[in-house]
Symmetry: C2
Amino acid sequence: MTARRQERPLTTSELAEPRVPRRREVIPEATVARLPLYLRALHALADDATQTISSEALAEAAGVNSAKLRKDLSHLGSYGTRGVGYDVQHLISQISRELGLSRRCSVVLVGVGNLGRALAGYGGFASRGLGIDALLDADRALTGEQIAGLTVRHVDDLAEVVVPGSIGVIATPASAAQTVCDQLVRAGVTSILNFAPTVLTVPAHVDLRKVDLSIELQILSFHEHRKSLAEGVTA
Amino acid sequence: MTARRQERPLTTSELAEPRVPRRREVIPEATVARLPLYLRALHALADDATQTISSEALAEAAGVNSAKLRKDLSHLGSYGTRGVGYDVQHLISQISRELGLSRRCSVVLVGVGNLGRALAGYGGFASRGLGIDALLDADRALTGEQIAGLTVRHVDDLAEVVVPGSIGVIATPASAAQTVCDQLVRAGVTSILNFAPTVLTVPAHVDLRKVDLSIELQILSFHEHRKSLAEGVTA
DNA sequence: ACGCGCTTGTGAACGCGCGCACAAAGTCAG
DNA sequence: CTGACTTTGTGCGCGCGTTCACAAGCGCGT
Ligand SMILES: NC(=O)c1ccc[n+]([C@@H]2O[C@H](COP(=O)([O-])OP(=O)(O)OC[C@H]3O[C@@H](n4cnc5c(N)ncnc54)[C@H](O)[C@@H]3O)[C@@H](O)[C@H]2O)c1
Ligand SMILES: NC(=O)c1ccc[n+]([C@@H]2O[C@H](COP(=O)([O-])OP(=O)(O)OC[C@H]3O[C@@H](n4cnc5c(N)ncnc54)[C@H](O)[C@@H]3O)[C@@H](O)[C@H]2O)c1
C-alpha cells in the first residue's frame, strides 16, 4: 500500500515542496512528551510484524485519546492514510527522526552511587538511540572501576568526554548537584536530567528536566490521604 | 476576606450542605504536585532556624513564581501574615498534614533488581513520613535476603504485607508489571507508582503514576536535536 | 494614634491543551 | 465506476493553570 501511494499522480502541494522536511512547525511540549510513548507502542507492534495501525488502536496501546494522538502526529506532517491508518515502520522513523534518535545521542552520567549504578546497567534506553557513554564520579576510589562495560572516570575529566549534543545526567547527592551542573554547563552540555532533590539554576539556553521519586510518592500519599478522609465522611 | 464571604447572603447550595468540612476545598493537581517542592524548601529553611519567610523568597527557593506559590498556599487556607510572610514551622505542618505525611505511610516495593535495590537503600523519602516497609520479589533465590534492613519476601505474600493506605511501587521488568499491578490491586492497594516502561490498566478508584527515565531522555534528545537544527539554519 | 511600607490574597485576562464531532479523503467490494 | 464504509485531519468550545497587577491587611516606627 505504500507502493500504491507512489502510483497516483503528484498533487500540487507535493510539487510545491519537493523533498525537504519543511514541517519545521513548533511542536507543543505536551506532544513531545507523548512521542516516546507512541514510539514504544510502535516498536512493540513492529516486533509483531504489524504493517499498519489505526489511530484508535495505537491510542489504545499508548493509553491516550485517539483524537489527541492524531493531532500529535499531524504536527510532524500528515503520515496517515485515510481509511487505512498509519504505516508502522514509517511512523517509527518519522518520530525517531523528530526526537533526534536517528543518530546515536551521547549521555554522560555523573555520580556512580546506588542510583547511578542502576542507571548505568539499565538497557532500557540503550535499546534505541540513547545509551550512556561515560560514567563520572568525584570519588577517586571509584575511578578506573568497570561498571556495565564502562570505565568510571574522574569528574574533572568531564570536558574530555563531553561531545556537542551530549546529555548530562546528575545522580550525585543534592549537596553536589549545583556544582556538577555548573561543570556540565561549562563543558558545553545544554540538556540535563537531574535526579538530585534540589532546585538547579541553569542559563536560559540549557534545558533542564528533573525526576524526583520523593515527590511522586508524596503526590500518591496526598490522594491516599484524601481517600481515607472521604471514607470517614461516608461512614 | 474569608469573613467578607460570610457576610453575603447564603446561596441555596450552601444552605443545602451546611456542615461539610468546607475547608476541604478541592486542591488542583498542579498545586498538589508543587506542595512537596515547597515542603523541601521549608525543611531547608527550618534547618537554618528561619522563623518566617515571604512568598517571594520561598518561591525563589522552590523555583516557582511567587503569585503561583501564594495561590497554591491559599488553597489550604490562609496561613500567611500580610507584611510579614509565612511562619515556616506552621507551613510545614500544614502542608505535611495536607499531604498525609503526619502519620507514617506504608510503601511496598515489588521487584528487587538493580533499580529496586537503589530505591530500597535510598533514605531520601524515609526522612519524612514516607519509607519503604516491604520488599517483594518473584525470585525465590532472593527471598530471605536482607537489603537495607528489610527481608525480601516472596511476591505471593503480598496480601500479608499490605495494610490499608499502602502505596505500591513496581520495579519489575515491563513484562511482569501488569501482573504485579493486578496483584497489588487485589491486595487492596489504591496508589501505585510504576517504573516499568508499560501502560498499565487499573480500576478507576486506583491512582497510578509512572516514572519513565527513557522518556525524559528522549524529550531532552528532542530539544537537543532542535538546537542543532537551529544552529544549522543560522550558520 | 497614625500613616508608611511591606506582603498577602485574589480578580481578571490570557494561553494552552483536551476531546468531541464531523467533513474530507481514502479503501474496497461488486 | 460507483457507492458504502473506514479512518484521518481539524475546527471549535471548554476548562485548567499561569501570571499580572492591585487592593486589603498587618507591623512598625514615630
Ligand atoms: N537511590 C535512589 O533510589 C534515589 C532515589 C531518588 C533520588 N535519588 C537521588 O539521587 C542522587 C544519588 O543517589 P544515590 O543513592 O545514588 O547516592 P549515593 O550516595 O549512593 O551516590 C552518590 C555518588 O555521587 C558521587 N559524588 C558526590 N559528589 C560528587 C561530585 N561533586 N561530583 C561527582 N560525583 C560526586 C559520590 O562519590 C557517590 O558515588 C541523590 O541526590 C539522591 O537524593 C536517589
Ligand atoms: N535500572 C534502571 O536504571 C531502570 C531505569 C528505568 C526503568 N527501569 C525499569 O525498572 C524495572 C526494573 O529494572 P531493573 O533494572 O531493576 O530490572 P532487574 O531485571 O534488575 O530487576 C527486576 C526484578 O524484578 C523481579 N521480578 C520479575 N518478575 C517479577 C514478578 N512477577 N513479581 C515480582 N518480582 C518480579 C526479578 O526477579 C528482578 O529481581 C524495569 O521495568 C526497567 O525497565 C529501570
